[in-house]
Amino acid sequence: MGEIIKAGSWVQIYRVVLPAGERAPQVPEDTQKVPLELKVKGFLKEGAELGDEVEIVTVIGRNHKGELIKANPPYEHKFGKMIPELLQVGPQIREILREEEV
């Protein structure tokens, strides 16, 4: 049994907009094979578990239905590791700028 996520929690839901096979005719083959999917965030209307079909209300007050996939969904993009390939740029161009005029 999963944990109950309380009504009013900030969550993310998921639903399929167009199943594979019903996609627009112009999309390439690899994309035809997968569904068009949608995710949206909002406040959970009634307590539920991950995986349940639920309803949410968004920050602007619209209702959406879908599968509950995350409670308090994080932003996970970041800067990450230093890029060694870029580290030389600063010193290199400062050196060129310092070189005497010929």
Binding site: P28, T31, V34, L38, R62, F79, L86, G90
Partner: protein, 475 residues
Amino acid sequence: MAANDYNSVMARKNEIMKKAVGIDYAQFSTGQVGFDYERMMSEVGYKLDEIVKIQSETAVGKTPFIELKNISKLARKLAPSGKGARIFLKDEAANPSGSYKARRASVSVYHADKEGYPGVVAATSGNYGAAVASQAVMRNLETIIVQEVFDSCGVGQPEILEKGRKCEAYGSEVLQLSVGPELFYTFLRVLEDTGYFNASLYTPFGIAGVEPLGYEIVEELQEREGKNPDVVIITHAGGGNLTGTSRGLIKAGADQTKIVAASVDLSGLHMASDHDFNRKSFTTGHTGFGVPFATWPDRADVPLNAARALRYMDEYVTVKQGEVFYITEALAQIEGMERGPAGNTSLAAAFDLAQKMNEDQIIVVQETEYTGAGKHPMAQLNFAKENGIEVKNGDPDQEEAGKSVIIPEHPSQIKARDVDLEKLKRSYLRKVFEETKVEVIEKVDLEFLADEIKKSKVETKEILEKEFDLQVAGG
């Protein structure tokens, strides 16, 4: 109740759009192939002085105009003697939402408010969403952004994730979709459900909103240097940035300034491919939009696109992803300005073009964009590495989009590579004739087509007769 499957909704497209932008586009058509572009711009849009007033209400525009002294000096050191133009930069990141897109959103949002729409919707993965959301906050309207975010594995580009976060930061509802052009279908359904205004990127409102950018450049350069820019270089994707800026330059009297478009070279990657989606390090300013939109502007989300880049472009160049990351690093390291990479596309190209121009000439890079986690060379190159893209130092000519990102070993390797504009003009014409099946070109048609490809009527007539075997009745 109306059916909501893909084909039924698409069939209602025109009806939905008409309600959601409030423009009757049919009134502007002329002849068999065209429409009266200038009449559309002047009747639907707002006048320059009205726009300046609208934008001053929401802190848009009047961004800093900066001479990049160190980057200009670096270019001069690499150039033959007597060459090396001065490079100026318009710091568009200083707009409220962090990019020139605030200009584009400002007029649409003003108009939506004035017409009594309760909210605005925009379909965009990019800076435009944040711009619409930010402007809507200032005018107390609700916003929904429809965004293409992730592939079938649920993985999203860091740059797009950041832009989605920014929309949410301004209190908008963000519908995040997987890869595919049916984003447009979802967008139409949202418009139908809500009755909100379609803050399309491509209405006369959006394009006219960019005109002050060109105007400000001329005013500031005149005041400081007493001359117009020799070249203005513009990062190009859907074509609104170039169209609006060029119109503003012309309105300010700089009709001799050469307009250069610049895009990141992503040739070989398919924009609607689930597989290719996360193999690019740029989500705008690239050839995947730049070429198709230049050659067929009316692919947009409104019947007549007000962004028509071929009307204004004198040259079109591309740069490699690795070169843009290099120049982004250089802008931080020797100018003290940390800005987002996509917005520096035209700066990378300007760095090379300046080396071919005379010392007393001026090239203006007309924008920057904000940077931050996700929207940064580090984030994007780490993501590229995680997706199996080789990132290395080397000769950027060897870079292959989707396989490698090559950071130049030396700044002299940064190059602006010419796109064959004549070829693009032909592919535009081919598309017109495919769509309209016209056989005899009348006088109005010839005039329209000549304006569309920025050629004289005589030259256009010759192309139509000799290369397309068409009969030209007028001209």
